[in-house]
């Protein structure tokens, strides 16, 4: 797996809890207009699957020993990332 993919996966794992909360907030909002409701549902369910930013925030928070929002997500060992990094460089 390329380092980029691995980082992406890592960010998604850490960002998913916050993303799920954001999704829930939007889906629960009382919106009368059908078109607006559909557009918002489509956006939050299918387009804006933004887990990278909350993932980055969670990791940065963890790095300074901040309290994690959800602690069940384990990080990928550093050595594995470094190994993948070397492999990625060799391939390119």
């Amino acid at each position: 797996m390329l380092i980029a993919q691995q980082v992406h996966r890592l960010l998604c794992r850490y960002g998913k809890p916050a993303f799920k909360v954001a999704q829930k907030i939007i889906l629960e909002e009382d919106i009368k207009n059908r078109n607006v409701r559909e557009a918002l549902d489509y956006f939050i369910r299918e387009v804006w699957l933004d887990m990278e930013y909350p993932g980055l925030m969670a990791l940065a928070c963890k790095a300074v020993k901040g309290k994690q929002y959800v602690e069940t997500y384990t990080d990928i060992p550093k050595e594995q990332i470094q190994r993948q990094d070397i492999k990625y460089k060799e391939e390119t």
């Binding site: 909002e29 919106i31 207009n33």
Partner: protein
């Protein structure tokens, strides 16, 4: 002393309200300008700088919303000064909604002035709108001397207002291209659009320390006042060639025309004019004449008077200084 004619009375009342708005709302507007222009120093893009400068210094002279906050707060016995910071936030957030509205309606000019969209285009207008929205919300979050409870109520009220306005905008899109919904259907949209004014009267009542009953009543008063302001614009737009043309071509038809269209014969006559690929100034005047003769304006004004009467009876139930609140309702019936 000679008695004033109805027109002179209207002009006098209009002047009185303008003075009131200026007196009660200017301070917050100046702070809003300063706050936003301070941000401008950090902006590198020349066009964005210019657009922000244009909007804050020349276009967005919003003294009405801060004045309404101040008047309602004072009416319930609160200190009107306590609304200033919230008013600054409201000026910025409402400015943002106005810009987004212009983009949706493709309004290049409004009240004889170029809009940000008209002067700088859609992309810059969108960015300015976003900047105002964020700054407004952050400003509200930073207001001092505000209990967490009140701040929460305010943010929730503003959020609800924004969602309701968005809903109304989306509903209004169906009425473009000279669609003729029934006046009742159209009024449902207008009622939702009036969420803006209700949010302001509610927030001011909360800031002034009103009890729950008073907050509800002032909220309803705000909703009615908001509807009246929009409907007054509908009537005024009908009386102005340029505005009427813009309503027909780019936006939705004003209430007097929709009332006139309740008559099948009038509707088919007007439909023929609406379907023309280009509407001339002469045809715009003809549309107005037909609407007037068929009683479209009269019906609209009668409905407005009913709303005004409800608003005034709500005020009667409140034990407070109602003078300015009554004046605002009366003002909406001047043309």
């Amino acid at each position: 002393m000679t008695e004033l004619s109805p027109k002179q009375k209207d002009a006098e009342l209009s002047e009185k309200v303008q003075k009131l708005f200026e007196e009660k709302g200017r301070k917050a507007l100046e702070i809003a300008k300063k706050t936003m222009l301070k941000e401008q120093e950090r902006i590198e893009c020349k066009e964005v700088k210019e657009a922000l400068d244009y909007f804050m210094n020349e276009y967005w002279v919003d003294v009405a919303r801060p004045a309404l906050l101040s008047i309602v707060c004072e009416a319930v016995g609160g200190n009107p000064e306590s609304t200033t910071s919230v008013a600054v936030s409201s000026i910025l957030i409402s400015g943002s909604a106005d810009i987004h509205d212009d983009i949706i309606d493709r309004s290049k000019t409004k009240y004889g002035e170029q809009t940000v969209y008209g002067k700088f285009g859609k992309d810059i207008a969108l960015l300015i709108g976003n900047a105002l929205l964020f700054k407004g919300l952050v400003f509200l979050n930073e207001v001092e001397d505000l209990s967490e409870q009140k701040r929460k109520v305010m943010l929730e009220t503003l959020k609800d207002m924004f969602f309701e306005l968005g809903d109304a905008e989306a509903m209004e899109l169906h009425y473009r291209n000279c669609a003729t919904p029934s006046p009742a259907e159209y009024l449902k949209v207008i009622e939702r659009k009036a969420a803006d004014v209700e949010a302001h009267t509610r927030i001011a009542a909360v800031l002034g320390g009103a009890d729950d009953k008073e907050i509800e009543r002032l909220g309803r008063y705000g909703r009615l006042l908001g509807m009246l302001i929009i409907l007054r614009d509908d009537v005024l737009d009908l009386l102005d060639d340029c505005e009427l043309k813009s309503r027909i071509v780019k936006e939705h038809l004003p209430l007097p025309i929709l009332c006139a269209c309740q008559n099948a014969e009038i509707k088919s006559r007007l439909d023929r004019l609406f379907k023309k690929p280009r509407i001339t100034s002469k045809e715009v005047r003809l549309i107005r004449e037909v609407t007037e003769k068929s009683g479209g304006i009269e019906t609209s004004v009668t409905f407005m008077k009913e709303l005004a009467s409800e608003a005034l009876s709500i005020l009667k139930q409140l034990k407070m200084n109602r003078e300015y609140l009554v004046t605002l309702i009366r003002f909406t019936l001047t043309f």
